[in-house]
């Protein structure tokens, strides 16, 4: 079994059960002028109301749409609903949306193929962000040595190491 690993943490006595629950607050930009104080004591938060109303609205809209799309005309007539948009759109709009999504995906993937550089392109091995390795300071101890800054290794050197077994 694994031996217990020491946790290198500045707060070793941290306990999740005892810790006060952190409040993650996100301020609305419009509330900047009214100060940054939390207003948890004044009724429900607007986001809760919006969520509640949004959820109910979604359910009601879904029911209305399904009734409009599937209920026979005679049922609607008997209830007293005599005017409603043409049922053609109940089929057309979802189909338009789905076809648009598929075409957007196809267009995006095609765009990616267009932006792929050719195998002979110089951009596959070099570009404006390429950096040469800096000279290293071997005098520092291993633990003291900083992690090398980001840099590119040339393709010629990589080929030598990979295929010619050069060290």
């Amino acid at each position: 079994m694994e031996s217990p690993h020491s946790v290198n943490s500045p707060r070793r006595t941290l306990s999740l059960s005892k810790k006060q629950r952190a409040t993650v607050s996100f301020f609305d930009p419009d509330d900047i002028t009214s100060g940054f104080g939390l207003s948890g004591d004044h009724g429900p938060k607007p986001s809760e109301v919006y969520g509640f109303v949004g959820s109910i609205t979604t359910v009601v809209a879904t029911v209305i749409f399904l009734v409009w799309a599937y209920a026979p005309e005679s049922w609607l007539q008997s209830v007293g609903i005599s005017y409603y948009p043409s049922r053609y759109w109940a089929l057309a709009v979802p189909t338009y949306v789905m076809v648009t999504i598929v075409l957007v995906l196809g267009f995006y993937i095609g765009l990616n193929f267009i932006s792929t550089p050719s195998p002979a392109s110089l951009n596959t091995v070099f570009d404006e962000f390429s950096r040469d390795p800096l000279s290293l300071e071997c005098s520092l101890e291993e633990d003291e040595k900083p992690i090398e800054p980001i840099s590119d290794i040339g393709i010629g050197r990589i080929n030598d190491i990979m295929f010619n077994n050069a060290t």
Binding site: R11, E48, Y108, C138, I153
Partner: protein
């Protein structure tokens, strides 16, 4: 049972955020990769193309980076296509003989897609979350649902602070025992205090962050005039750029603080240290932080930190190295005053030495190695076992998620028929020894 010999992992790191982009996620992925390479593992990074930077690059320490030609769509994230990335991810996984896929950052579409497909193909998957997200706004609600989907079958997850772990567990429904807390670290050898602290009666407060709403630039606009009024010997240096910079310029004009507030603009990461060591106090006013890397860098340079008490910030430093305040201008002003009174007792070199012990990238790499070992020991699961987990994500969403997984499974088998795994050539390893360093030294 006996302890098995340490296993060498072959890790694929996936994120939309990587060099030449700069930020916390980019630094984290790079430094972690370098330390894992030094431990003997193989690391490959997959990200999308950045302008002309497309194709395969070898970087420091033989870190291989695939810049997949996939256009960024919004804030450096690619467009979600669900299955568009599967063929190329599959090819990379087979070519490099990957054993663990490590995704970074919630808002990385490439990361979510890759985790999804890696799970379909039976690879072990680890996810690192770098940010806190809310529960109330529309964007967060949708993002939490996506996270619930992609993390439903993840092997292990990593968060950068305990607050971040709590946030991630609540958002994604992940089992808490699957989530490890591994903080960010700082390259203490790069961030050293100045040999001599800037002397004189002047006290310099340094701010380095993007000037956006989330980083509390509006708080800064109200804090700086008040501190300058109360303490005539205080000066501010502000590094960073962003949409809120105009407000800071207006604040300077309004209160005639041109000689006491210096705006540097964007500061390259290589020059951050030279800005930090010119100050005594580091100030950050973020409204939300999972973990604040800038605080580590400042503390490593010997600066006393003043920060808002948000997210994971209280976990970062001991109490004698940081002064915390509520995200309120008056409270921040008081915290800065308290920091000014604490300043004579601060020894930058002592603070730096403590930071070197507390936050070290090699320590982070060792902990991440433990997570990889745990992920490797997770039992393999068939598609049917995974589907039951996806179904529990919700009444309608669960079925939708299961459908997506089934279609992905079929697509994968279609690719297996079209291009069998045996036909894909494996890449020879690049062995970088220490002799190369000396050879490079001779060449330069």
């Amino acid at each position: 049972m006996g302890d098995s010999p340490p296993q060498k992992h072959r890790i694929l790191m996936v994120s939309d955020f990587y060099y030449p982009n700069f930020g916390g996620v980019e630094n984290h992925a790079y430094y972690l990769s370098q330390c894992l390479l030094k431990l003997g593992h193989k690391v490959v990074v997959v990200t999308h193309a950045y302008g002309n930077r497309s194709g395969v690059r070898y970087m420091t320490g033989s870190l291989k980076v695939y810049y997949v030609p996939w256009r960024p769509f919004c804030n450096q994230s690619t467009f979600p296509t669900l299955y568009g990335i599967l063929p190329i991810i599959r090819t990379i996984l087979i070519r490099e003989r990957i054993t663990v896929v490590h995704g970074h950052q919630t808002f990385s579409t490439l990361c979510h897609d890759a985790l999804l497909h890696a799970r379909i193909m039976g690879y072990k998957v680890v996810f690192t979350d770098h940010s806190l997200h809310g529960f109330g706004d529309v964007g967060s609600i949708h993002m939490n649902k996506v996270m619930q989907f992609t993390l439903a079958d993840v092997s292990q997850a990593i968060c950068v602070s305990h607050t971040s772990k709590e946030n991630t567990v609540l958002r994604s429904g992940l089992a808490p025992e699957k989530v490890f807390v591994i903080p960010n670290a700082v390259d203490t050898a790069m961030f050293k205090p100045a040999l001599e602290r800037p002397g004189g009666l002047e006290i310099v407060v340094v701010v380095i962050s993007r000037l956006v709403y989330r980083k509390g630039a509006d708080l800064l606009v109200e804090v700086i005039p008040e501190v300058c009024r109360l303490h005539p010997n205080v000066r501010f240096i502000i590094g960073g750029d962003g949409p809120k910079r105009v407000r800071l310029e207006e604040m300077r004009e309004k209160h005639s603080l041109f000689d006491r507030v210096e705006l540097l603009g964007a500061v390259p990461h290589a020059q951050v240290r030279s800005v930090l060591i010119s100050g005594h106090i580091f100030l950050t006013c973020s409204l939300t932080e999972a973990f604040c890397m800038a605080i580590l860098e400042a503390a490593s340079c010997g600066l006393l930190t003043v920060s808002t008490r948000v997210g994971g910030v209280p976990e970062v430093l001991p109490d004698d190295m940081i002064v915390l305040a509520e995200p309120d201008p008056g409270d921040i002003v008081q915290a800065i005053q308290k920091a000014i009174y604490m300043l004579p007792e601060i020894d930058p070199q002592v603070m730096h030495n403590r930071m070197r012990e507390l936050y070290n990238w090699r320590d982070v790499a060792k902990r991440t190695e433990i997570v990889y070992d745990r992920a490797s020991k997770c039992p393999n699961q068939s598609l049917l076992e995974s589907l039951s987990r996806y179904l529990s994500c919700g009444a309608w969403a669960g079925k939708l998620f299961s459908l997506v997984m089934i279609l992905g499974f079929l697509f994968w088998h279609l690719l297996e028929l079209w291009q069998p795994a045996d036909d894909i050539e494996e890449v020879p390893d690049v062995i970088f020894s220490h002799n190369c360093d000396e050879e490079m030294l001779q060449k330069s």
